[in-house]
Symmetry: none
Subunit: 346 residues, 2 copies
DNA sequence: TTCCTCCGGGACAAATTATGTCCCATGTAG
DNA sequence: CTACATGGGACATAATTTGTCCCGGAGGAA
């Protein structure tokens, strides 16, 4: 990633989005010219009015010209598209990466955003944006969306915007409290998503440290039962993937547990379960909520995780949690591919 | 110039403006910290509320921190300002150039925009934007702004946006018709400025080729007198500077005049007057309107002209028209400085 | 020729966002 | 103590964006 963009992204987080949007318009225009607003809008998957705004702007900039037969690029616009092509390819050309990853991890779809969330803060927001967009696309009437905790899922919530399609959606926490900071707790995230998107939400208030007895008593409570019912009807699950050590520490786990995890080679974590590099469950957090088995009946499982430091965790969790869609960043994507390649050629 | 910035300037000039605005805030903050909203807002020449919006954003980004004593930069904000300095300088930073030019031409203020309007079309727009911004800043209740013709002043008009401060402003043409294309005529430009800014305008319809007799008759007409009255009350004058030959040709002047101008060494032109390299008037166009003498009583004279081809003209017009503020482009600025330097060391 | 389709641009209401303008509790300096 | 400047809350209003029409006209097909 170019350092200039890194700086600019801090002051203009949606710089790349706007850039890509406008580039896409020019590019489509180049291929379809001369073309009218309506057909171009539908080709770009946007509305007529919004395209019109952009085209007016591009016209001001002298990149686009309009005739009675339709719109076309000016010479300046033509050279701009040509000049931008390598840059855009570098920034957004992750199609290959996405396809490779999808094949190797056996997923339905992979979305890669530019950057490395370990190094730049805005990359997480970028993943959040991608996640929010995805949820908007997948929106279904009266659906239930279960969300797990963690910073990455939190950033998806942060990036959601009001959409008509999500107004009838109920957001629920996938699991009860796991002893995290409140902003990273599934409960809080579910409510945030609902608030931002204009949907509904249900909370599940259960303590995070439970004796077996308390657990069994609690799970019989009618309102808990009701929540679990709702939870199992979830059509979509969104969860993050954590590094095992980091997650255990964040949850203030006992030194015993930390030791045990290390011993068993835990590398990844996803909504309360810890996995080793082979994708075997080595520990599960004591918490009420969606279990791995419940995931079978879920229509779409979305995993969101980035940063090269999480590459191993993502690769380990993949085979177990079986996400259908993975949203990650460039750094993680490349690292995973590299790891898989070296593993296959020992 | 980094190629990526060049592309961005074409595709997202609006965003770059936002970027500069935010950078300015950070920069001021760095120098004044800790500081409150109100004093910072007045230092930046913006309103409290609008600054507040930006600061909220910058706080989100973790660049700014607020304490009860005021706002200050975080460490991240500090390093960002440092890192961005060269970038901003490259994009907008012609402060040195501006100061040098202001000193050498003895002007109150010089604004330099990047590029060369001879080579890139968007540079003229950039000057226009600078001019429009300036007018907005200088806005005064119930003021009169007189504008001359020409492509550069036209681009100022083009770039103006609706502003409350300009609602009570009356735009008037500085001089009557001078035989130019309608889009470049002062009349049209005055009306365009009014339309874009939401202000008022008055037009002056006088033919451009007049016999002495007709001139003297016309000038006694009540409505012409009234216009001249208004014109002389102008607080601000905006004019362009033209290359003498080009202007004469554009106005379809007679071969005689062309010859005469060449003979007398005319290099520059400003609202109807032609100057030689020494800044002496060698010819004045026959047209009713603001004369050079009238300029004495004007509060602010703004000259807008760019392109290295106009460097000589600008330098020649400067001493006579005595603009207070000059808006030009990088190419013209550098050429003028170079010319002055070589002239002083023969 | 006539009809038909698609073009850009105008218009306008609704929704959303930005902005101006207060006020207030609080911390700080004198 | 007083006096003042601070950030943040609240809220009406202005401004902008967006969705959704319509229209006259150019171009192509019959």
């Amino acid at each position: 990633m170019k350092p200039i963009l890194d700086l600019q992204k801090q002051l203009l987080p949606d710089l790349l989005d706007v850039m890509r949007k406008r580039y896409e318009i020019l590019r489509h225009l180049q291929l379809m010219q001369p073309v009218g607003r309506r057909s171009l809008a539908s080709a770009l998957g946007t509305t007529e009015r919004i395209l019109r705004g952009e085209v007016d702007f591009l016209k001001e900039q002298g990149l686009v010209r309009t005739d009675p037969v339709g719109m076309s690029l000016t010479m300046q616009g033509d050279t701009l598209v040509a000049d931008m092509e390598p840059l855009i390819k570098e920034l957004f050309g992750f199609t290959d990466l996405e396809k490779q990853l999808a094949r190797m991890l056996n997923l339905q779809k992979v979305i890669v955003v530019p950057g490395d969330s370990d190094r730049s803060d805005w990359v997480k927001k970028e993943m959040g944006k991608a996640g929010a967009r995805l949820l908007k696309q997948l929106a279904h009437p009266r659906q239930v969306v279960a969300v797990a905790g963690g910073t990455t899922v939190a950033s998806v919530a942060q990036m959601m915007t009001a959409t008509a399609g999500l107004r009838e959606t109920t957001f629920v926490p996938a699991r009860g409290g796991l002893g995290e900071t409140v902003e990273l707790e599934a409960n809080y995230i579910a409510s945030l998503m609902a608030q931002k998107s204009g949907g509904k939400y249900r909370l599940m208030h259960v303590p995070d440290q439970l004796s077996d007895e308390a657990y069994h008593t609690l799970i019989r409570e009618p309102h808990i039962q009701e929540m679990l019912e709702i939870l199992r009807s979830a059509r979509i699950v969104v969860h993050g993937v954590g590094d095992a050590q980091t997650m255990a520490k964040r949850r203030k786990s006992s030194p015993d547990l930390l030791e045990k995890l290390k011993e068993k080679g835990a590398v990844g974590e996803a909504f309360g379960y810890y996995f080793n590099a082979e994708g075997e469950i080595v520990h599960r957090g004591h918490s009420i909520g969606l279990s791995l088995e419940d995931l079978q009946s879920v229509e779409t499982i979305i995993a969101v995780a980035g940063g090269s430091s999480k590459a191993k965790a993502v690769a380990a969790v993949g085979p177990v949690a079986r996400p259908d869609i993975l949203i990650t960043d460039e750094a993680a994507a490349r690292t995973i591919l590299l790891d898989l390649a070296t593993a296959n050629t020992p």
